[in-house]
Amino acid sequence: MHAFNYHKASSVADATARLAASDDGRVLAGGQTLIAAMKMRLSAPSDLVDLGGIGELRGIKVEPSGVTIGAMTTHASVAASPDIKRAIPALALLASEIGDPMVRNMGTIGGSVANNDPAADYPAAVLGLGATVVTSKRKITADKFFTAMYETALEPGEIITSISFPVPKRAGYSKFKNPASRYALVGVFVAETANGIRVAVTGAGPCVFRIAELERALGKSFSPDAVSGVKVPATNLNSDIHASAEYRAHLISVMARRAVSQILSK
């Protein structure tokens, strides 16, 4: 990779200042996406601001109102958390299926959400649960956060500090793994929240998205059959060597049905 200036930030304020003072600086979270990209020279920041030493960015807080996860909390920590397993088991399940055990020991929720990979799992949970992304500057609701492929509402120099998930009545996540990369070819997060049913799909389009028709159908009848009754269009879905848009549309139905069955089986 190309050379860069390295700073280990002592606080969020310090990290923000370092970023502002750099030509083209980026933050380093777990590095599971960024380091790989830098090794291939797909990314070449002038400065790397390491968030790894900021203790207040790690941690899981579960209250009756919701679950707040620090941006630097690893996937392994979320997957193993007895508090999250109790409050939002689908979130722990989702985290446990990201990558592999070694990736989960380094990868972070903040990194995943800020990156917004079209096949990443966490965006489906953030959108599916109607979570709030808390940054160094403001709070951004899920519906406004994921804007385009690898793009979010974050402004330059803005750092995610935590993500707050309201506790749903019930939720489930089912993912069809790409057999080679184990990313989501299609992953569907279904949640019955205080404000109704939310269905968030990852892997199928350029960016995570909700399907209003499925949400309406499940609102009328929360059953796998209700999902089968909705035809998911292939328009604007990804078509690549792994799957055609039509197959992804089909997988959305299958994974949504499985997520609903998962919820009903508890």
């Binding site: 990779m1 200036n5 590095g31 599971q32 790989a36 090794k39 592999d100 055990p101 990736v103």
Partner: protein
């Protein structure tokens, strides 16, 4: 730019000046001359580079050495006792023929040790799922699974 890097590796303190872009795997292999940790794919898929950092299995080809600043690192060389007695996992891989060319083996062993720490009595499905991050081209995984099962019962 140069960073003064210090960490404990296989029980011994080590210190060196490194460029920030130095990968942890290159620090371990080239600076520390611990070449048991292998680079297989260099893209964080195959797991041949798996080591333990602060007690957790990580892929060190996908980390900067500076991310391990102040940490405790254990590589495959750090498993056997000073008198050469193998770690039970190493012995199991030997006894159950869990390797052929040996390239994936250090990563497999490090990963399997971490697996058993978290799941002391895994069933076959769990072993295969937890070794998802380690690829082997030779064995077809069958004897690797048997080795891990044997180590779990030891």
């Amino acid at each position: 730019m140069s960073v003064r890097l210090s960490m404990t590796v296989n029980g011994k303190p080590v210190s060196a000046d490194v460029e920030p872009r130095t990968l942890l795997v290159d620090f371990i292999r080239d600076t520390l001359r611990l070449t048991g940790t292998h680079i297989g794919c260099d893209t964080a898929q195959c797991g041949a580079c798996t080591i333990h950092m602060n007690g957790k299995a990580v892929k060190c080809c996908n980390m900067l050495a500076v991310q391990a600043q102040g940490s405790t690192v254990v590589t495959i060389e750090g498993l056997a006792k000073a008198d050469g007695t193998m770690h039970p996992m190493q012995a199991a891989f030997r006894d159950y023929h869990g390797l052929q060319c040996g390239y994936c083996t250090p990563g497999m062993v490090m990963s399997a040790i971490d697996l058993l720490k978290r799941h002391p009595h895994p069933n076959e499905e769990q072993i295969r799922a937890e070794l998802d991050g380690n690829l082997c081209r030779c064995t077809g995984y069958h004897n690797i699974v048997r080795a891990v099962q044997a180590a779990a019962e030891a």
